[in-house]
């Protein structure tokens, strides 16, 4: 199996409208992901992104997605391969598209249990153009093992996208998930680091997260996840303010499109919509250069 050539784009207005969309929580698969259709998966994500109007995917690969080590407890070797592969994939895509600036941007995915490896991966990633750090669920967010990682991320102006189980009331198999309370403890220890609390629609009770993280000014939240509860986005924006909320899709671009449409229907101002669709992404990722054609997006 190899990479699949992107489907020819369908012409016309993007489904989510003409204003740019930055997906701050995207994932791809590598050749070691253990699923035969990894190339089709990646091509589908890119094609759907074009249809929707996503101008940039800020993405990671979670090791081997369970093939040679668990998705949420990825081995150092799998993470090194995934990070290298993600950056190379972004460059191959840029060349294939014939564009000067990339539309794929890379997180450095790490496992905090391997602290030296994590720090090394971040340093290596920064040198190769990574724009953020992705932490999944290998260690609780408030564990001291994350402190050096958070400090290094701040030093390089890298936001940390942290997987969160909204209101984790017990342990779940397959991951050492954190919730908003635990992420906020880390954020309070590192006020100069910016954190992106992952997928408010990604499982658990989002209402708990709104209470847990609303006052932590260095914590942003992304709207991704399969959950499309009516009232969820309104409550999130009310709690965090539009300037700390980012549109994103994670594993389901269909719910991402639904939320982009719903943003138009819940009475936001144009400035709020712009913040959520792309401007907060520009603010969060100072190392990224997001472009629409020749236009460089600035906050």
């Amino acid at each position: 199996m190899k990479e699949v050539k992107p489907v020819e784009p369908e012409h016309g207005t993007p489904l989510a409208g003409n204003e740019p969309l930055i997906d701050v929580h995207a994932h791809f698969h590598s050749d070691l992901s253990g699923r035969a259709d990894w190339g089709a998966y990646n091509a589908s994500r890119l094609h759907a992104g074009e249809r929707i109007g996503v101008i940039a995917h800020v993405a990671s690969i979670l090791g081997s997605w369970g093939h040679t080590s668990p998705t949420y407890f990825s081995s150092p070797a799998d993470l090194t391969h995934a990070n290298d592969w993600m950056r190379a994939f972004a460059e191959r895509d840029r060349l294939a598209m014939g564009i000067a600036q990339p539309r794929l941007f890379s997180y450095v995915a790490i496992n905090p249990n391997y602290a030296d490896h994590a720090l090394h991966e971040i340093t290596r990633g920064v040198a190769a153009g990574a724009v953020g750090v992705k932490i999944a669920a290998s260690r609780k967010a408030d564990d001291a093992l994350l402190d050096d990682i958070a400090r290094l991320a701040a030093e390089h102006q890298l936001p940390i996208l942290h997987h969160v189980w909204q209101d984790r009331r017990r342990e779940w198999p397959g991951q050492d998930a954190s919730d908003g309370v635990e992420l906020v403890r880390l954020a309070q220890r590192h006020p100069d680091t910016r954190f992106l609390l992952a997928h408010i629609g990604g499982g658990g009770d989002y209402a708990h997260t709104l209470h847990a993280a609303r006052d932590a000014q260095n914590v942003f939240v992304d709207l991704s996840g399969s959950g499309i509860d009516r009232g969820m986005m309104d409550a999130t924006i009310e709690a965090f303010g539009a300037e700390r909320v980012c549109w994103a899709a994670d594993l389901t671009l269909c719910t991402g499109l639904t939320k982009a449409w719903a943003l138009d229907a819940i009475g936001l101002t144009d400035a709020q919509l712009t913040d959520i669709r792309w401007r907060n992404g520009v603010r969060l990722f100072p190392r990224a250069r997001f472009t629409v054609g020749d236009r460089v997006l600035s906050a």
């Binding site: 489907v7 369908e10 489904l15 998966y41 990646n42 589908s44 994500r45 094609h47 759907a48 249809r51 929707i52 189980w165 909204q166 499982g203 658990g204 009770d205 989002y206 209402a207 399969s226 959950g227 499309i228 509860d229 009516r230 009232g231 309104d234 594993l251 389901t252 671009l253 269909c254 719910t255 499109l257 639904t258 939320k259 449409w261 719903a262 229907a265």
Partner: protein
């Protein structure tokens, strides 16, 4: 005709009104639903009484549903719940049918029916004789976020297979199923049995895993109906799933112009 002017669907088969017991849901009111349907270019909806799902006796909820929908007759069609393990259910069913329904709803998981429960088959037979569909809901919320008191669990695919195999010729509308559930039911039935199945696809995932595209290729186009689960979920999801299908698959699916509702 422009894209915007067209109706997207004749009917949303899976809507409710009324408050949800486990969290606040904004404005679960019929006048709001009517506005949402117009915005989303859906002509009408089959509407159930949401809190009644967790009542032992759905009768009072059905009456409140009728009163709430009365000003919107023609656009919002009642989907009352009939509990076929209770005495006199045939009388309840007849009365509801006389007043007019979009479909009849049943909640086997909340009522404690095991797969193969005979009462559900009897209800399906009654619906079939009246020519109205029987509507079953797989889930209301993602399992990861449910209230600890919401312990009924999901409807089992085995329950759907059992009633579909009973030979009642009742149209079964299944709401809230994902790919695995749909495939487990679809490929677990004979072609004759399959023709009475309808699935709303609001819980099926689109790209990049493309479950809906896969199902649209493998399951009969006539099996697909639009259902939103409003007011719990955003109505836009079905249109998003449809629009993200490959163009050829979009052409094979239509939710308007059917000779009759599912």
């Amino acid at each position: 005709m422009t894209h915007k002017a067209q109706w997207f669907a004749d009917v949303d088969v899976s809507a409710w009104i009324g408050p949800y017991p486990f969290r606040d849901v904004p404005h679960p009111d019929p006048e709001v639903l009517v506005r949402v349907l117009e915005r989303e270019r859906i002509q009408r909806a089959w509407v159930g009484w949401l809190p009644g799902v967790w009542h032992r006796d759905p009768s009072a909820g059905n009456e409140r549903l009728r009163r709430a929908l009365a000003p919107f007759a023609g656009q919002l069609l009642a989907a009352p719940a009939v509990r076929p393990d209770w005495p006199g259910w045939q009388r309840v069913l007849s009365r509801e049918l006389e007043m007019g329904v979009g479909c009849i709803r049943a909640y086997p998981a909340q009522w404690g029916y095991a797969p193969g429960d005979e009462s559900l088959t009897r209800l399906a037979r009654g619906c079939s004789e009246a020519g109205v569909p029987l509507h079953l809901t797989v889930r209301f919320e993602d399992v990861r976020q449910r209230h600890r008191l919401d312990s009924a669990g999901d409807l089992m695919a085995a329950s759907v297979r059992a009633v579909a195999r009973a030979g009642t010729r009742c149209t079964l509308v299944i709401s809230g199923a994902g790919r695995e559930f749909i495939e487990e039911v679809w490929w677990g039935l004979t072609p004759e049995e399959q023709q009475y199945l309808r699935f709303d696809f609001g819980w099926v995932w689109g790209p990049p895993d493309d479950h809906f595209a896969h199902l649209a290729r493998t399951v009969e186009p006539s099996a697909w109906v639009l259902g939103s689960q409003w007011p719990l979920r955003l109505v836009q999801q079905s249109r998003a799933l449809y629009e993200l299908l490959p163009a050829l698959l979009r052409q094979s699916l239509s939710f308007t112009g059917r000779r009759r509702d599912p």
